[in-house]
Subunit: 195 residues, 2 copies
């Protein structure tokens, strides 16, 4: 797949990001060198630095892009008018979005400790922003008497953990389609929050 050499113009962001994503997911950030990433893209190691400052910048770029895309995709998702309908929208959205990006999700959880402090803080703020989207739905549902949880913050964390957990076992082409999984999980989410 990798070509032996490439002109600088071929080192486009997406190609470098794809290669880094694959390699980080397979071997872990700490075990992957810029040289390996360059080889995967098909360019000389030195040429990689025309695109990215260093490996840390590359990791941060991957993780921030993932969170930016997550927030943008959720913002663009059509939503129901009641908190309960929005909770269903969120549950289905979360499962599909994450199942469609297994490597990015894997890295988002596995490589947090390898971020610099400043980069970690930025990522945490974006993650918190996403969590707040769900938390607001649960608060509105609670206020409307549509759901029943003693602690909306804990319910937020519980629902997100439950939904993200699908990525650890789901295999495309297995016995259940993404939609079938989303149906079953929506049922469990609704039950968990007493709706």
């Amino acid at each position: 797949m990798a070509r032996k050499t490439g002109s600088h113009s071929e080192i486009t962001g997406p190609k470098v990001r794809d290669a880094a994503l694959r390699l980080f997911a397979r071997h872990g950030y700490a075990a992957v060198s810029m040289r390996q990433i360059a080889r995967e893209v098909g360019v000389q190691a030195g040429a990689l630095y025309l695109y990215t400052k260093d490996k840390q910048s590359l990791l941060f770029d991957l993780m921030r892009t993932h969170m930016d895309e997550l927030l943008a995709a959720w913002a663009a998702t059509p939503k129901g008018s009641t908190p309960l309908a929005q909770l269903e929208d969120f549950s289905r959205f979360h499962i599909h979005f994450h199942l469609d990006r297994p490597d990015a999700v894997f890295i988002a959880y596995m490589e947090l400790r390898n971020l610099s402090d400043a980069n970690f803080a930025t990522l945490e703020a974006l993650r918190r922003e996403y969590e707040r989207e769900l938390e607001r739905i649960l608060e509105a549902g609670h206020a409307a008497g549509m759901i029943n949880v003693p602690d909306t913050r804990l319910a937020t964390m519980a629902v997100i953990a439950m939904l993200t957990g699908v990525n650890t076992w789901y295999r495309e082409g297995g016995r259940l389609s993404q939609d079938a999984v989303a149906d079953i999980y929506w049922d469990m989410v609704r039950g968990a929050v007493g709706a």
Copy 2:
């Protein structure tokens, strides 16, 4: 904390395991050398090999010990007579056991990809054994009409993901005690499985 040197008799299993656990959790398996572990224990690097064959053996030992302890502790946990009571026992047990061992849990999830194929297979079998404990409870609850889930396997994965998720946000000394968290999560687990 670390001493400069130590006699061989001081290189006890627990000391080496504790040091490896701390370092793997903080920096990741790939980034930690046997030399660093030896320094943390307070012995020469060569002396470490009297206790363990290599870094892979050390990682596997940590992860297998964690799973062995998990299975043994659950087996020793007093259990209620109904599937619903057992589900509550399982939920509370899981939360307490995992919150008491943050580093071991972190490593159990983060370092799976760094295991050799044979070691990975052994670990997966132990993990599957633990999941089966919960799955059997859900099956019994379903058969007794006490719970209502369309798919006991998916409910098993959902409940375990939800419960293990507590480790990602819980801080000892925070606004909620372990018991308060377990109360709230038991409520959500019960709801998720329609009990």
